[in-house]
Symmetry: C2
Subunit: 277 residues, 2 copies
C-alpha cells in the first residue's frame, strides 16, 4: 500500500530528484497492532535531516494522519516514509520553491526466526568502507550505494549482518543496523558524527542504559575492542535488538545487559501501542 | 521526451532502487544535429560503472537505437541516460536476477552566454567536501547529495561553478565539471581514484593534449597550485571547455592551451556529427 503525496499511487515522475540524485531522506518504522512505533522520534529525525539537507520541514500532523490511514488495520508490518526534494531545479541546483515529494509505503513484516532475538546472529566484516562526510553523517539520506555494495558481498543466509568500517579503520555500524558493545559493564557505541546513521533504537538503547545506570561511552571503536567485548548487539527499528553471537571466527555469549535492554525495548514498544489507542 | 524501458513514459515505480537508494548510474550527453555526441565513450563509461556496481552490462545496440529514436530531430539538446538496479531485493540486498531500469530523456540545451566559452567563468570554493571512497570514485553514480549541497551554497548567477575539495584538502573537481590547470606548459588534472567523476570531455582533453605534445600530470592538486596556475579550465559534456577567469578573488587570463583544446574539442564534435550521417 502506498500514499504518494496523499494519493494512493505508486508511480513517481522520473524527474523527481529522489530518482535523479538520491536527493532526500527516509525513515523505516515497525508497525504493531495498528501503531507506527516511535513515530514522533522518527519525525524528529526526519525534521533534523531536512534541516541538514536544506529541505522544508515535514508537516508532522499530515504525516501522522497518513501513517494512521495506512497502518490502522495492520497487526505487524513495516512503514517506510520517503521525503525527496521533488522535481525541478537546474542540474544539481535545487528548485525554488522546493515542493517535496512524500511517500508512505506499508510492507509485510520480515519473517525472521525468533532464535535471532534469543540466541543471536552471525556477522562478518565487510570490505566496503563507509566514507567520511560530517555533513551527511547521522542522517538517513537516500544515498545508499555503500550499503548496497556492502550487502552484496555475501549471499550466505546463515550470515544476518555485515559490519562496516570507515576509512580510518573504525568500526561504525552494520549495513542496516547500529552497533553496541558492553565491556566491563560499560556500554560503547560509535559516535556517528563522521559517518553512519544514528538510529531510533540506538537513541532508545542509550536512554534505557541511563535508566539502568549502565555507563555509556560514545567513542571510536577498533576491531580489536569489538572482538574483546563481553557482549555485542546490533539494533534497528525492524529487528529491535539482536545479540551478536559470532563475528567472523569470534564467538560471543548472549549477555545479560543485552537481554535487559531487549526487555526494556519490548516494554517501550507495548507502551507505544497502548498510548496510541 | 522520455523512453523508460523503451516506452514513452515518464513515471517510474516508487520501489525502483534508483528512487529508494540512488542505486544506479547516469550519463549526460550533448545532442548536436541529431547526434548524441561521443555516445560510444559514454556507453563505455556506463559499462564500467555497471561492473563497479555489480549491475548487468548495458545493451549497447539497444541504447544506440533508443538514443537515435529520441534525438534524430534535435538540432541542439541534452540527452540523459539513467540505469538503475530496478525493483526488488530485500532492503539493501540486491534482487536476483537484477532487471535494470533504463531511462533516456531529452532536454533543451541550456542557454549559456557564448562569452563563457570565450572570456571564461567565475568560480568559488565550496565548503562542502567530497568524501573519499575508492569503490565509488570515478563513476557517475546516482548518489549525488554532495553535489546538491555544494551547489546550494551560492545563488549568485554571476558565479557559474563551485570547486570542491576532498577531506585531505586536495582540489578535485567542480560541482558539475572536471578541473584542469596548465602551469609551465604542463597540463595537470586530479587523479579521481579516491573521489570525483571521470568525465568524457576530460578523457578527450587528455587525448588532445597528447596530440599537442603537451605533457600531462595526473596528480593531487592543492589550492595553492591551483591559484598559481597559468591557465585554469573546467570541462563537461554539455559546456565543453570553459576557461576559468576567476577563482574567489584570484584572476586568470584565458590561456592559449585552453583555446587550442577548445578548437580541438569543437572539431571532434563536428566529426562526430559527420560520422553519424
Amino acid at each position: 500500500m502506498f500514499l504518494l503525496n496523499g494519493e494512493s499511487r505508486h508511480l513517481v515522475d522520473v524527474s523527481d530528484r529522489g530518482f535523479q540524485y538520491g536527493d532526500g531522506l527516509f525513515e523505516t518504522l515497525e508497525v504493531l497492532q495498528g501503531t507506527a512505533l516511535f513515530l514522533d522520534r522518527h519525525l524528529q529525525r526526519l525534521t533534523e535531516g531536512c534541516q541538514r539537507l536544506l529541505l522544508p520541514p515535514p508537516d508532522w500532523q499530515l504525516l501522522q494522519q497518513e501513517a494512521q490511514q495506512l497502518t490502522a488495520n495492520t497487526e505487524h508490518g513495516v512503514l517506510k516514509i520517503i521525503m525527496t526534494r521533488g522535481s525541478g531545479g537546474r542540474g544539481y541546483r535545487q528548485p525554488e520553491p522546493i515542493v517535496p515529494t512524500r511517500l508512505l509505503s506499508l510492507h509485510p513484516y520480515p519473517q525472521y526466526p525468533t532464535s535471532l532475538q534469543s540466541h543471536g546472529i552471525v556477522t562478518r566484516f565487510c570490505d566496503q568502507l563507509l566514507s567520511i562526510n560530517p555533513s551527511l553523517a547521522g542522517i538517513k539520506h537516500l544515498n545508499r550505494l555503500e550499503q548496497v555494495l556492502a550487502r552484496a558481498e555475501w549471499r550466505d543466509d546463515a550470515i544476518q549482518e555485515g559490519l562496516m568500517l570507515d576509512n580510518n579503520g573504525h568500526v561504525i555500524e552494520g549495513t542496516m543496523s547500529n552497533l553496541f558493545i558492553v565491556k566491563n559493564a560499560v556500554l560503547y557505541t560509535p559516535a556517528l558524527t563522521q559517518s553512519g546513521i544514528a538510529g531510533i533504537v540506538r537513541q532508545l538503547v542509550l536512554a534505557f542504559a541511563n535508566q539502568l545506570a549502565l555507563p555509556i561511552s560514545i567513542q571510536n571503536l577498533s576491531k580489536d575492542q569489538l572482538l574483546q567485548a563481553d557482549e555485542v548487539f546490533v539494533t534497528n527499528s525492524v529487528i529491535g535488538i539482536w545479540p551478536v553471537k559470532q563475528i567472523a571466527q569470534h564467538s560471543f555469549q548472549v549477555g545479560e545487559w543485552t537481554q535487559r535492554l531487549q526487555v526494556m525495548l519490548n516494554q517501550a514498544r507495548l507502551i507505544e501501542v497502548e498510548n496510541h489507542d
